[in-house]
């Protein structure tokens, strides 16, 4: 596939910020004022990835991993320090206006609507800015209202809307001009479960019915599990994983765990294809290895030991992500031990 077949392509995309670091010791504050130590901090580090048209991709990572900075480079807000970035064939920071016509973005904690105006008037201004024909505008608004129930509150000034209401309006504003690519940076933060589900339904419709490409950053793993076909994991600015959630689970997760209770004490516990996570005389926890499934372990336990109770627990996705973040951070720390890989330089 050529670059033109992808909605988004980045190659060695890097963003480095110069930040002042304080002196330590005597007269540190005065020395920092007149002679600050400048440090170059790499926030996104040689990010190479691509997103196909019509894909809904989750961009995941712990706080400070470089997700938002990546999105800001993809939307043309920040100019990369080095590397290449193409969004629908355009270089966003060189063709900001052209890129803006083709993308939509929602930054969950920040508003892009007019604070003093009712939300519907903000949407009408966006219609003028993007020069959306009246018939298209009316149709879009009706479609968005059908799922997001905007008409209940769109006559209220934005400053008086709840967070959930505001973000729903932001989402309508971001897609009003029918963009082919949409970036959503933690769009459901602070929403209640009902509104979250409404928003997910809206996003699903945008991908399935409108064929939009969506890049979503979130810390809500339920959202990822329900929406995203593909996961891109960033840690310390580097792409650490690119694949499906199932692949992520099999690479980093412990998978399902089998909890067993025995009717009488059991000594040595050996089950083919299973790792014993914990074992005391009456209870044990086992994890499948390789191609072994939890069902294989259950069958083996029942046939060999005096079992009175069995339970299979799927790994919690939140726990999985915690393990992934810690593991990828460890992997990076090992890489950084080599002398030529220091990322902060004065």
């Amino acid at each position: 596939m050529s670059d033109a077949d992808f909605a988004i392509v980045t190659r060695d995309l890097t963003k480095t910020f110069s930040v002042a670091r304080r002196h330590v010791g005597r007269f540190a504050a005065i020395r920092s004022l007149f002679d600050p130590i400048r440090v170059h901090r790499t926030v996104v580090d040689k990010l190479t990835m691509s997103v196909a048209r019509g894909e809904l991709v989750a961009l995941l990572g712990p706080n400070g991993a470089g997700k938002s900075t990546s999105i800001k480079m993809l939307t043309g807000i920040l100019t990369p320090s080095s590397g290449e970035v193409f969004v629908d064939g355009r270089v966003p920071h060189r063709d900001r206006v052209g890129n803006a016509r083709n993308i939509g973005a929602v930054f969950g904690q920040k508003t892009q609507l007019w604070w003093d105006l009712p939300a519907k008037q903000s949407l009408a201004i966006l219609r003028d800015i993007f020069d959306v024909p009246k018939s298209v505008y009316d149709r879009q608004l009706a479609d968005f209202d059908a799922i997001l129930e905007l008409s209940e509150f769109w006559d209220t000034p934005v400053r008086n809307l709840s967070l959930g209401q505001r973000v729903r309006c932001e989402m309508a504003g971001a897609m009003l001009h029918d963009p082919s690519i949409v970036f959503l940076d933690e769009p459901t933060i602070g929403m209640d479960v009902v509104v979250k589900e409404q928003t997910r339904e809206f996003l699903r419709a945008q991908v399935q019915e409108r064929g939009r490409t969506i890049v979503l950053t979130t810390h809500d793993m339920t959202e990822v599990a329900r929406l995203c076909e593909r996961v891109l994991l960033i840690n310390h600015g580097r792409l650490m994983f690119d694949g499906t959630l199932e692949q992520l689970k099999s690479k980093y997760g412990s998978g399902a765990l089998v909890n067993v209770t025995f009717s009488e004490p059991v000594g040595a516990l050996e089950v083919p294809g299973a790792r014993v996570v914990s074992h005391d005389a009456m209870q044990a926890v086992l994890a499948p290895m390789g191609v072994t499934t939890p069902e294989d372990i259950v069958r083996a336990l029942i046939s060999r030991f005096p079992v009175v109770n069995l339970a299979v627990d799927e790994t919690n996705i939140e726990d999985l992500m915690r393990d992934v973040y810690l593991t990828t951070a460890d992997e990076l720390a090992h890489k950084r031990d080599s002398p030529d890989s220091d990322r902060d330089s004065a």
Binding site: G64, I77, T79, K110, Q112, W114, D116, L117, I129, S180
Partner: protein, 283 residues
Amino acid sequence: MTTIAQLPVWSRAHRLAHTVRVARKVSVLNLRARMEYRGDFVISVFFGIIWQTSTLMFASVLLTRFKGGLGNFPGSGVLLIIGMRLLSHGLYVLCFSNLGYLPLLVDEGRMEGYFLRPLSIFTQLLLSQFNVNAIGDIAVGATTLGFAVVLIHIHWAIGTIVYLGVAVIGGLLVEGALQLMLACLLLRSPGSRVLGSWIDELMSTFGNYPLSILPKVVVGLFTFLLPLAFVAYFPAEVILGIAPRHGVMSIVTRWSPLAGLLLFMLAKRVWAYSLRHYHSAGG
């Protein structure tokens, strides 16, 4: 289906017409939104009038004390400087004072929204809210200038009236250019806001009087460093016929209304450079 993004690239004229249309609509809606809070609206307009009237009161005390005028300017000439300066400043508040809110817009992330729309970021910044107090500022400035025009004993030819109008716009652009350059600094260092207040203070303290009453070094500073001489002092000299007739200063004075345009064009270049190096707030 043709998406909005696939529409043909706009011509410069189409872009300008589009910007004007959006600016008009947003300004009307913003003004209407401010008028919905009636008490707040009235206080803001009244505050603009009171603020500028205090400047006028101080000037009238000076003119009463010095009946022969100030420096090489007659009393009505001083009133012309004050009127031009106040009207330019009122128009500046109307058009450009949102530049001062830049640190807030950056902190709140609203600035980033401006990058996501196919409209000049500068235009969007100026349209972020309607500054109601500008109405009071403009009212006082226009009234003062009106009085000055009546009191000055010169022949108001069409050319002189046009020169006055261009000079007022030039003054608006000088102040706008200075604050735009400061806004470039604010993008990187929000603490520079105090510098903006200081410039504002200097312009309102010294910009309303003939600079000829000040030492030559200070006049030089207010001409070439902080160019407030170009806001009202130089054009008023030309209108009153007391501008230098020979030398470089003769040319500088006569063409002074263009200084605002040149400075503003320079400031826009610095602004474009600053946006390319925008750092954004937060992650």
